[in-house]
């Protein structure tokens, strides 16, 4: 991760949608008086969801106003958590895990695909569909290599099935979430290699 700054091009204003505004009000009301600042992460998250998955400066200021916080306090939160995107992302925002287990399992092949098809990190494709970024371990090491696209994990990737996944996403076809080679959650890929018998069965 590197120093995170707000995007250069910022929209002039940000306004919560009526639904989100109502949601915000009901949520804020849950907190005791003077403790509204505790609401800052959900509020920012909602703002990000509303704004095509990234947080503009105006949204940060809106949240600060809504919660009665100094703007710098909200900026601290927004820059601290990498889940807040401070610049525009593609419709499909790909977070690629490049940590050791994924790397050993071939995440560099996936990176190569991304660089070829999407371009350098943090750049949105011209059609606005994709952007990608390398992140630290996402906790799906059993199914390495993997990426997270928006809210979902796509696991057991190879260069081929990943390209197909991108094609399907680009064409708007349905895609399979989770393992791309058909295994269920993190069960062994082939047959069982250990714990093949119940305890006691193998004893002679």
């Amino acid at each position: 991760m590197s120093t995170r700054r707000l995007a250069e091009d910022q929209p002039a204003s940000f306004e919560f949608t009526p639904e989100n505004k109502a949601w915000l009000e009901t949520q804020i009301a849950k907190y005791p008086d003077g403790r509204q600042a505790s609401m800052v992460v959900p509020a920012l998250w909602q703002a990000q969801k509303q704004n095509d998955n990234w947080l503009p400066q105006a949204a940060i200021e809106k949240v600060a106003d809504a919660l009665g916080m100094a703007k710098i306090r909200v900026l601290e939160i927004a820059t601290f958590y990498s889940m807040f995107n401070l610049e525009p992302v593609g419709k499909y925002f790909i977070q690629l895990c490049g940590t050791t287990p994924c790397l050993l399992a071939g995440s560099d092949e996936i990176i190569e695909v991304l660089q070829r098809r999407v371009g350098p990190q943090r750049r949105v494709t011209d059609d606005g569909l994709f952007s990608w970024i390398e992140v630290e371990c996402l906790g799906a090491c059993c199914n390495a290599p993997m990426v997270q696209i928006n809210d979902d994990y796509y696991e057991d990737l190879t260069a081929e099935n990943f390209e197909k996944l991108l094609d399907n996403l680009a064409a708007g076809r349905p895609v399979k979430i989770g393992s791309q080679i058909g295994r269920v959650s993190s069960e062994p890929v082939g047959k069982l290699t250990s714990l093949t018998s119940f305890y006691g069965d193998g004893a002679k």
């Binding site: 120093t3 100094a70 703007k71 710098i72 900026l75 820059t79």
Partner: protein, 686 residues
């Protein structure tokens, strides 16, 4: 109280003391960066690690662990803290090595060099060489205002500045963005800090990351002559240390005085330094054909003497400004007595404070430290944040402790704490007095904005009534507190520098045709209308000097020794730091010379003789650093006066915090701050 062994020495401390405080109690020094007595505990620098027995078996941050967290031994032996064990030594060396990983080795070009905590502690607790060969982190410098320069490579992330602006200043200007190695201390997107106390963050910074901008690359700390004295920019009388080199005042720093300013000073107190060097009156002037021409002392004094002799006493007046010390005020009073004029006044703003109501009627009786004992507050016609930022921080400190209801009558403003707004003028106050429930230990802060108007006496009376009926007066508590804005005011009122029988007050004196001759001792906030012959004794070419017919150059507050009485009535001594420039002289000496030229010398030849004379007639001036308390009975008496107030809203006494006196108006730094505060200053480019 809990017993604890610190390096084998047993100390008995309260259980909620931190280990670091216990160590200090035992006389053991523990290095620290993030810990600060007056800020919350962060525990993030790790420099204060100690070894404990009776607690976790690893180095503990002594600032963040309290004495009661430690268990006694199996046989009831007290818990033990070791600060000199091999484990502690190694831990400190490790922490220091980590701190220095990203800290640049630029001490030779760093202004903090010589007074740098990191430099000092690296010398004592660090190791002699580095094992780090990788690239150091580089951080962009930030724009955070005109008073504090940043050099963010040097930052060690102690967050003292963040905690100061959030807790003491209350503006929440600074923060830490990013995380881990990428954490950066900054304001919100390169905006300037908005606090009137922002200069203090440079003092708090243990390294050279935040430095006073106006003093960049000027001097090394060991070159300074350090003089401990008193600030006169507001009526608080903050303890300051003035650093000078040769004949030049270089910088002003706060000193610790828990009774007054704790260890903060306002930006005006700190950064008017350049104002002491500009617009100075360094020789006498005489007005001829409408223009001021330089003159010799002999000529100037002769001109004044001739005019004085030609004027009848009842047509002579004397004004004292906001920065005058007690001695020169006293000397001017003696001179006025000699001349036989009743026209004296020290209240150039027209405040209706009068010694005839007793000393309690014009003091901040609750005392500044006493604010912390108050149970509720009523602020009348004041904006404490502008009139005395450090005192405002004290009110905020009390407010942060909770259970402290503040009510305000006057102009709405961001005071950095919450309050109930009662209304703008006297009728809201009257209604509050009639309807509010009495509080325990009410603090009634009366600003000059409520007093410096035609019905000021009525406002004063209403404030006294509020104090009397709402719990402001009780055993051991006198909450009636006048917040002054002028450093000279309380001292002058103590001397009775107010109109004598049949005398005119300041506003009447300034009217055309009222008087023929006015001695103006540094009163620059009053417009004297054409007509009278004005003799201005002062240090700066400001409004008073422009209106003068003869200018007798005096000394600024750093150039004279003198007594000042702060708003709570505390007598404090200011000391001379440097000599006045050119032919200027200390004001008391100017008045003594003037009396000589008039043929009737004042009865003293030295400051010491003047002080002896002063103390004879006003003994409480001998009690330096003490408060001669006002009597509650005087407030009760004041409350019984009839009061008919007007309907006009109270207007705060200070419109522009940065321009309240001639020194501040001469300062380019203050002008910059003012422009920034007015929102006219273009924000620095990224």
């Amino acid at each position: 109280m809990t017993k604890i062994l610190v390096d084998g020495v047993e100390v008995d401390v309260p259980g909620d003391f931190t280990l670091l405080q216990a160590c200090e109690q035992a006389g053991v020094e523990v290095p620290r960066f993030c810990y600060h007595e007056r800020l919350s505990i962060a525990g993030n620098c790790r420099m204060c690690l100690v070894e404990v027995k009776g607690g976790p078996p690893k180095p503990q941050a002594s600032c963040a662990m309290s004495v009661k967290d430690l268990r006694p031994g199996p046989n009831g032996a007290p818990p033990e803290v070791l600060t000199k064990s091999p484990m502690v030594k190694k831990a400190r060396e490790g922490v220091m090595e980590f701190l220095l990983i990203n800290h640049p080795l630029d001490c030779p070009i760093c202004d903090q060099g010589g007074e740098c905590d990191l430099q000092d502690q690296a010398l004592v607790f660090g190791v002699d060489s580095s094992r780090y060969h990788e690239n150091k982190r580089a951080v962009e410098d930030k724009y955070i205002g005109v008073l504090v320069k940043t050099e963010m490579n040097r930052c060690i992330h102690c967050t003292r500045c963040v905690r100061f602006t959030a807790e003491v200043a209350g503006t929440g200007d600074m923060g830490a963005i990013g995380r881990g190695e990428d954490m950066e201390i900054t304001t919100y997107l390169e905006s300037a800090m908005t606090s009137e106390l922002q200069g203090n963050v440079a003092d708090l910074c243990p390294v050279g990351a935040l430095l006073p901008k106006p003093q960049s690359f000027r001097a090394r700390p060991w070159e300074y002559q350090k003089t401990e004295t008193i600030d006169v920019m507001d009526a608080l009388g903050s303890a300051i240390r003035v650093d000078s080199r040769g004949r030049e005042v270089m910088r002003i720093l706060p000193r610790i005085n828990d009774l007054v300013n704790e260890e903060w000073i306002s930006d005006k107190a700190r950064q008017i330094v350049d104002g002491l060097k500009t617009q100075r009156l360094d020789r006498p002037y005489i007005r001829e054909n409408g223009r001021l021409r330089p003159a010799s002392w002999r000529e100037a004094l002769a001109a004044v003497a001739a005019k004085t002799k030609a004027t009848s006493p009842s047509r002579i007046g004397a004004l004292v400004g906001d920065l005058a010390a007690v001695e020169e005020t006293f000397a001017l009073k003696l001179l006025a007595q000699q001349l036989g004029t009743p026209n004296l006044d020290c209240r150039q703003d027209g405040a209706k404070l009068d010694p005839k109501f007793g000393r309690a009627s014009y003091l901040f009786n609750a005392t500044i430290a006493g604010i912390e004992q108050a149970g509720a507050a009523l602020i009348i016609g004041a904006n404490p944040r502008k009139e005395s930022p450090v005192l405002n921080a004290r009110i905020r400190k009390r407010w942060l402790k909770g259970d402290f209801k503040i009510s305000l009558v006057g102009e709405r403003a961001d005071l950095t704490y919450g309050y109930d707004y009662l209304g703008a003028g006297p009728e809201s106050l009257l209604q509050f007095i009639r309807s509010a429930k009495p509080a325990e230990r009410l603090l009634v802060v009366v600003g000059q904005g409520a007093l410096a108007r035609d019905d000021g006496e009525a406002a004063l009376t209403l404030a006294a009534q509020a104090a009397q009926s709402l719990g402001g007066l009780s055993d051991g508590w006198n909450g009636f507190s006048v917040l002054h804005t002028a450093a000279a005011r309380v001292g002058a009122l103590d001397l009775g520098f107010t109109p004598g029988a049949g005398g005119l007050d300041a506003r009447a004196m300034a009217k055309t045709g009222a008087l023929d001759l006015i001695f103006n001792l540094g009163a620059d906030e009053i417009a004297i209308e054409p007509g009278a012959f004005v003799v201005y004794i002062g240090a700066h070419g400001d409004r008073g000097a422009h209106r003068a017919d003869v200018i007798l150059p005096g000394a600024a507050y750093t150039e004279k020794s003198g007594l000042y009485v702060n708003t709570e009535g505390r007598v404090q001594r200011a000391f001379r730091v440097v000599f006045p420039p050119g032919e200027a002289r200390e004001d008391w000496a100017v008045l003594r010379a003037l009396s000589g030229a008039l043929g009737n010398p004042l009865p003293f030849d030295s400051l010491a003789a003047l002080r002896r004379r002063l103390v004879e007639t006003h003994p409480h001036f001998a009690q330096v650093d003490e408060i001669a308390e006002g009597e509650s009975a005087q407030i009760v008496a004041l409350a019984n006066h009839p009061a008919v107030a007007m309907k006009d809203p109270f207007v705060p006494a200070i419109q522009n915090f940065y321009f309240t006196n001639p020194i501040a108006r001469a300062s380019a730094v203050m002008a910059e701050c003012s422009a920034l505060a007015q929102g006219r200053f273009a924000q620095a480019a990224e």
